[in-house]
């Protein structure tokens, strides 16, 4: 329980007026001090501030970025009192229309429920319900501030974009899927013809070719296989400003790509390569979609000086012949070298450079120096060229554009590189 500054001031004023009345021999001054003494006497005789109970309930616990939910706050108190409640909302969650503070009157033993609309602006796993509740006695001479942690968990999943095409992996895996493999075996897509050998099924005979060359030929097909796709998130460093950053974009892109690859039966895995290394081994299906969504929520930049190489990753997290799509702002050398290392180990690699340039600030916080910005751009272009020399498709993505454009650019490069 805290004393209000009012209590000290009233006591000081009452004492000052009474002492002045005595010292100066002016009873009028006692007349000024009397009201303050009266308020103090009455206020301190009243019961102390009551205990206020608060509980929080959310209308939904799992939402997508941009969704709005209702938070129901229930207040109750043992004695009637005025209550001030202030939400301490984490970054990424805000109130829709209402301000983050409430002032309400609680009657004795009567619960009061208040609905607050919350906007989920950024993906993440949040614990909501941190409230500061202030109640006071009737005269507001004694106040009680309580921090209430009746937390409710809220998971905001990153929003997804719609993609019409995906970057096709160069190699497929031996499992059945929706991709036409380059290998020849049982399948639907016609690949070639070859001379008949004993054991071939009669239904595979190509009668037109056989009649033209007077020897038997059989059709060969491309089998339908799936592919492994590893989404490689470089989380060593990020560039950010109020309202977003490169990591936000990377996570949104990863969620979009994972959903689309899983929809075509591919196996998708995640590698979070940064201060803390996280991975999710490739798998397919709806369950993997949920696993990826949960894993992405844990992604954050953890500051570290430790030099890390690809060797720290377990072999099963980077399956052979997988397509690795790296989402990186290319800010940290450890991340850049890791990508070179991956390529040199023979992985089919595509890099989406999530440009940190839109988030650039000068050291004073203003617009960056144009000369410095130009040099930085040149350096990044050189870096792109070096990756391209290694056969890696690199494309720059600024947050304002659609991911579709980036995917198309990577596809075009890979077509040309072949």
């Amino acid at each position: 329980m805290n004393r209000s500054p009012k209590l000290a001031l009233y006591a000081a004023l009452a004492a000052a007026f009474f002492i002045a009345a005595l010292a100066l021999g002016r009873p009028e001054l006692a007349g000024l001090g009397a009201p303050f003494a009266l308020v103090l006497a009455i206020g301190l005789s009243l019961p102390p501030p009551p205990k206020v109970e608060v509980s929080l309930r959310l209308s939904r616990e799992r939402v997508l970025e941009g969704d709005e939910i209702e938070a129901e706050l229930s207040f109750s108190a043992t004695e009637p009192c005025e209550v001030q409640a202030a939400f301490a909302l984490p970054r990424g969650i805000s109130t829709v229309e209402e301000p983050e503070s409430l002032v309400l009157w609680l009657a004795r033993g009567q619960a009061r429920t208040v609905s607050v609309g919350l906007a989920c602006e950024r993906w993440g796993a949040y614990r909501l319900g941190e409230l500061v509740v202030r109640s006071g006695d009737r005269a507001r001479l004694r106040l009680t501030d309580r921090q209430i942690d009746d937390s409710a968990s809220l998971r905001v999943y990153p929003s997804r974009e719609r993609l019409r095409s995906l970057v096709s992996p160069r190699e497929t895996q031996p499992f059945a899927g929706n991709r036409v493999s380059r290998a020849k075996a049982e399948g639907i897509e016609f690949a070639d013809i070859r001379p008949y050998v004993p054991g071939d099924r009669a239904r595979r005979l190509n009668w037109r070719a056989s009649s033209r060359s007077q020897t038997l030929y059989v059709n060969q097909q491309h089998p339908e296989r799936n592919a492994d796709v590893i989404l490689f998130l470089d989380s060593f460093a990020e560039a950010q400003r109020e309202g977003g950053g490169t990591l936000d974009q990377a996570v949104r892109a990863a969620a979009t790509l994972a959903d689309h690859y899983l929809a075509v039966q591919d196996r998708v895995g995640i590698v979070g390569f940064g201060g803390i290394v996280r991975w999710l081994t490739p798998a397919s299906g709806t369950l993997q979609s949920y696993r990826i969504a949960e894993a992405l929520l844990e992604t954050e930049v953890n500051f570290s000086y430790v030099w890390k190489r690809i060797d720290v990753l377990p072999a099963r997290s980077l399956t052979p012949q997988a397509l690795v799509i790296a989402l990186s702002p290319l800010l940290d050398k450890r991340g850049m070298y890791a990508l070179v290392d991956l390529r040199r180990r023979g992985f089919d690699l595509a890099v989406v450079d999530i440009s940190p340039i839109p988030f650039a600030n000068s050291s004073e916080g203003g617009a960056p120096d144009p000369q410095a910005l130009r040099l930085w751009r040149l350096w990044r272009e050189t870096l792109h060229l070096r990756y391209q020399e290694l056969g890696v498709a690199v494309t720059e993505w600024t947050g304002g554009e659609s991911l579709e454009r980036v995917v198309e650019e990577v596809r075009a490069f890979r077509r040309f590189a072949r």
Binding site: P5, Y10, A14, A41, Q84, S101, L102, R134
Partner: protein
């Protein structure tokens, strides 16, 4: 109800009351006129501090107003009716300034809370005027006997001492 309009209304009322309280003693500053004027002006200027800086330094203008009145009263006699009005005005100003200091910058406020607060404010003003009148009446009573005067004085002193006792009791409760 939004707290913004309420804050504006409270601030406007507080400024009006503070101007009245600061200017009245200036009219009869006596020998200490310059000091009274300076304190009145200081009180008005310092009132801007809690109004603009979310309740910080709320006590300063109120202390200056009190000091201004004491300085005026030390040199000249103000009318007894004015003391009653001044006492009620000063306590209402205190309540307004502290209400303003407590009020969040942006909040949704129950209309019931505002009505209750206004009622308490009015009641405090009336109670302050009554307490002030009683104190003034008490001081003007002519007592025939010194023993009765001693008894009444003792009673008043013990009533005043009850306040520190209440404060001590609060501390021990905590």
């Amino acid at each position: 109800m939004s707290s913004r309009y309420l804050r504006l209304a409270l601030a406007a009322t507080a400024i009006a009351v503070a101007i009245a309280l600061a200017v009245y003693p200036m009219l009869d500053g006596g020998k200490l006129g310059l000091l009274v004027d300076a304190m009145g002006a200081g009180a008005l200027l310092s009132l801007l501090l809690p109004l603009l800086w979310r309740g910080h330094g709320a006590s300063l203008p109120l202390i200056l107003l009190g000091a201004e009145y004491i300085a005026t009263e030390s040199t000249g006699h103000l009318a007894a009716v004015s003391v009653v009005a001044y006492a009620a005005g000063l306590i209402v100003l205190c309540e307004l300034v502290f209400w303003l200091a407590e009020l969040p910058a942006a909040a949704t406020i129950d209309a019931g809370v505002v009505v209750r607060r206004l009622l308490v404010l009015a009641l405090t003003g009336v109670a302050a005027a009554s307490a002030s009148s009683v104190a003034l009446l008490g001081s003007s009573v002519r007592l025939g006997s010194a023993i009765v005067a001693l008894l009444l004085g003792g009673l008043a002193a013990s009533a005043l001492l009850a306040i520190p006792l209440l404060l001590v009791r609060e501390r021990s409760r905590r």
